[in-house]
Amino acid sequence: MSRSSSPASTPDRASNASSTLARDPDHLGRFGKFGGRFVPETLMDALQGLTEAYAEARRDPAFHAELDDYLKNYVGRPSPIYYARRLTELAEGASIYLKREDLNHTGAHKINNALGQALLAIRMGKRRIIAETGAGQHGVATATACALFGLECVIYMGEEDIRRQKLNVFNMRTMGATVVPVATGSKTLRDATNEAMRDWMGSSKSTHYIIGSVVGPHPFPLIVRDFQAVIGREAREQMLERTGRLPDAVVACVGGGSNSAGMFYAFIDDRDVELIGAEAGGEGDVPGRHASSLTRGVPGVLHGSFSYVLQDDDGQTLDVHSISAGLDYPGVGPEHSYWKDEGRVRYESVTDAQALAAYDTTARREGILPALESSHAIGQGLIEAAKLARDKNLVICLSGRGDKDAYEVARLRGETI
């Protein structure tokens, strides 16, 4: 068994033995049949270099010590796990716990990955950073990391998302990032990703692309999952400490799937823990009006990876819709596709209306404004909790806070702020 890529600070379970689903991708970057590298030859050398640099960093205790220090003293980790009494009372089922990634510096889980990859970029001698962003949370996290380390930062963002997420755009610019509006296609996350990849096609010698989710060509899905796995590791320990046992169910939202991959990974081999991913159901089961790649898509290629994707019968990527800019994406990380086909994670589609209702409910019953992305997880979590007995425990990943969504929610209600 090869342990050459075993991380110093991740659970000692990342072997590729057949009894485990918690695995690293194979030499082609595949989780089962999903993943790989379907990119232009121009990017292959950069991906190979990144794979090698990351394998070295992963083995280097000093790299982990530096990252862990920033996570503790700059981000504020570990994030709390909070028993949501009034949500539990509402669901009349399992006890609901919220993993509070919203309390991280910059207000979402995205900072875990941005800091890790920024440190990796510095290690590779790359001082220019590019990133795509949908809701703007990954853009803000990346701009934050770049300000912290003095790196040049260029963020690609769809024009539609810039409209929906003005606050994040303002904050990115305040921290010195250049935000480049993307006017192609649907002007959302998918198009921003295309533009970031196009930039990297010509700049990879000097530039690191901090992809924001567990998507894209190998090794990105592995890197991002590893940097986000801190969420699940902490939640697992916190629940053991708090309740003396593992939770019965864990729910997280899935766009590209980074907070959910990071949350689920620690529980993958705990077969008694039910894992549920909440995808963006948008306005329902009409092509173009949702973003449910796993529940309604087909295996195909998008953005360098073979995974479930929403595409037409010619392989053209379909337009998608979600109330939440961060879930408004037609693809999903390959490891999720693997977990789906292995039957390890159940994926459900949560509509805009359900997410909005969960946003309101959480605000009014807990005094917490969740991000619209996380509101999908809460919406599904309330359904799951209601199905479970009162002596069961359920964890929901509250991946980000909802301040950024205030303008969009107000607009939907016909209010101006």
Binding site: E41, T42, N194, L302, D314
Partner: protein
């Protein structure tokens, strides 16, 4: 013999280079694409690369990406592209097109969705001679290569300025038809100047393979054709053609086809000029 092999065998014996324009299928419409293929093979194009529009082409600059968007907005479908090629081949037997290879530039997303074997069957039945799959690196290409070879279709692979030399050798060894040498680390699109080390890199690759080597990306016009003709077996001109098609869009089909024919003839003349001076 596959038309691509036959073409380069003939050109090499004549000391000549191939002119290989790129057209986006369905831009502005498939009837015009058919007329353009016919016209440019009469006016000096040896091989035509047919771009299959894709919604997310990450290797393409704005000119080709926008042409794909225009074609897709009109609802172009894969089968209609192949129908057009098949009809054109059948109608133009005896013309310059008969011997001219046609190659599709197609995203793996599209070939895979159709089913690789089904895609190749369709291509072969339509009179297509080879394919370039710009998002399929050679590690992932083994299955496609095997299936393409069964149908006598060439799988043309790409070498770029970022490709390490040992890797370039392995890519050239698995490529068929010719090797596509990408001139710049970046996107498709015309460049005022191409990298100084381009000629040297292509000359080095030539010592590693017997396959023809064709240069693409960035070639804007006759001057670069003249500059690169001494080192390449063929020159691919994409954005410069597609940009002119977009600009001529409002002039009506006959005028558009004539203008593009004139541009290709100008490139062909530059190529012929270099051949004469090289063979002096």
């Amino acid at each position: 013999m596959n038309r691509i092999d036959a073409l380069f065998q003939r050109l090499r014996s004549e000391g000549a280079r191939a002119l290989m324009p790129f057209l986006t299928a369905g831009d502005p419409d498939l009837a015009t694409t058919a007329s353009l293929i016919d016209e440019i093979t009469t006016r000096g194009a040896h091989l035509v690369e047919i771009g299959v529009p894709y919604s997310d082409p990450i290797a393409d600059g704005p000119v080709i990406a926008e042409s794909y968007t225009r074609a897709l907005k009109r609802g172009i479908k894969l089968e209609a592209i192949f129908d057009t090629v098949r009809s054109l081949r059948a109608e133009r037997i005896g013309s310059a097109l008969t011997a001219a290879p046609l190659v599709t530039m197609v995203s793996y997303a599209i070939a895979l969705r159709r089913g690789v074997e089904s895609y190749l069957d369709l291509a072969a039945a339509s009179g297509i001679d080879g394919l370039i799959v710009p998002d399929l690196p050679f590690e992932e290409a083994e299955g496609l290569l095997k299936q393409a070879s069964k149908r006598d279709l060439k799988l043309i692979q790409l070498v770029t300025p970022t490709t390490p030399r040992d890797r370039a050798v392995r890519i050239a060894a698995t490529s068929t038809g010719f090797v596509y040498y990408v001139s710049v680390a970046g996107l498709t699109g015309e460049r005022a100047a191409l990298p100084a080390e381009l000629a040297e890199n292509v000359s080095w690759l030539r010592t590693q393979t017997h396959l023809p080597i064709c240069i693409g990306f960035g070639i804007a016009g006759a001057d670069q054709i003249r500059a690169l003709a001494p080192v390449a077996d063929g020159l691919i001109v994409g954005s410069a053609v597609v940009r002119r098609i977009a600009a001529a869009g409002s002039k009506g089909k006959a005028e558009l086809v004539r203008e593009i024919g004139d541009f290709v003839a100008e490139l062909a003349a530059a190529l012929e000029q270099s051949r004469l001076s090289l063979n002096e």
